[in-house]
Point group: C2
Amino acid sequence: MRAIRALAFDVFGTVVDWRGSIIAEGPALERECGLPSIDWPRFADAWRAGYTPAMDRVRRGELPWLKIDQLHRMILDGLLRDFGLAGLSEAALDHLNRVWHRLRPWPDSVPGLTRLQRRFVITTLSNGNMSLLVNMARNAGLPWDCVISAELFRHYKPDPETYRGCAELLDVAPGELLMVASHKSDLRAAKRVGLRIAFVRRPMEFGSSATADLKAEADFDFNADSIEELAALLSDHA
Amino acid sequence: MRAIRALAFDVFGTVVDWRGSIIAEGPALERECGLPSIDWPRFADAWRAGYTPAMDRVRRGELPWLKIDQLHRMILDGLLRDFGLAGLSEAALDHLNRVWHRLRPWPDSVPGLTRLQRRFVITTLSNGNMSLLVNMARNAGLPWDCVISAELFRHYKPDPETYRGCAELLDVAPGELLMVASHKSDLRAAKRVGLRIAFVRRPMEFGSSATADLKAEADFDFNADSIEELAALLSDHA
């Protein structure tokens, strides 16, 4: 078994709390734009629910290649009327759309990444576009060695081109690259092309009333409750 | 005139001292590998001199796309006999080839970049491959927001695809991106596709006996003697 040399992180959900961050920005937007009271948890869930279908439209060729910023905006535009947001100015909509650049890390993310970075190259491997991930890292203090996005491959995860492309750019064998994610589908796709995989449970990603699949899996290389725990599990890795 | 939002840095020569770093590693290699005394300054110059012709062979289609690590190794292999390095083991040659991953920054680079990063997105825009630039940043403590390499575009600088591709990934207009380099040809190519340009003089890049073109140019947006001076020049930028 080769030693792990680099770690690639899923970002939305695994490193940052997209749902909590969107909900947290809601009241300020209501105040500044004179909006009625909006159901932000339901809005966040609806926005996120549009994401996989939107990527699938690109995969099927119904849409050209688009950055996630553009997909997010397309989905947002379709939600405005239902959620009482139809009166927002273009500037306010653009600001709201960029909430994804301002997502807040889970409490263990920055300390965990900082610890892992001492021994391993750490990168994003996210469907978020490059500028989104760069702005997020600056806002949240995420200490990436580099930012790798699906945008570089013009394929979204879980397409195999993304995992293979990440290993190729880092100049490591697939088996030397550990994919870290809170979503099992992402991990299983990474494993199919030879990456090692680490599951980080995020029970609150979809809110307290959602039922997430948090079961540890014997065929995963690591199962952890946080990025800090993952750092501890990797601390005696050869 | 649009405000500058991001800075893209040439790396070899502009941020790190490739020649001094290669020369500095020489004596250790001689000791560890039992080599005779080698003319390291002449060796460093010969290695670097092979770089542009090697990229031109890729441009003409005589070679497939290659990472700079591979070009460096090809050039190195051609120099071994002339410089008394023919007896090196494969492991020693690979280590020597990766000296480019260990290049040392000029003294002003880290403080200058750290200051610039407070206000601007800072990235590499280098012909060095991604893993080379990532390893260099880790070794040298270069605080990039992201690492952008010619490898992402399969075009080396000064091909226009590299400058345009960098602006596109950062999601800024060409006029919002400032290219920073110690080589005027790099800057003029960036300007042709609409980037702003900043010249940083590196009189010692090619050694004390070389005659570098250090003249400030009126059609450059900035002329500076260091990255720290560039940070000062940009400090009152709107």
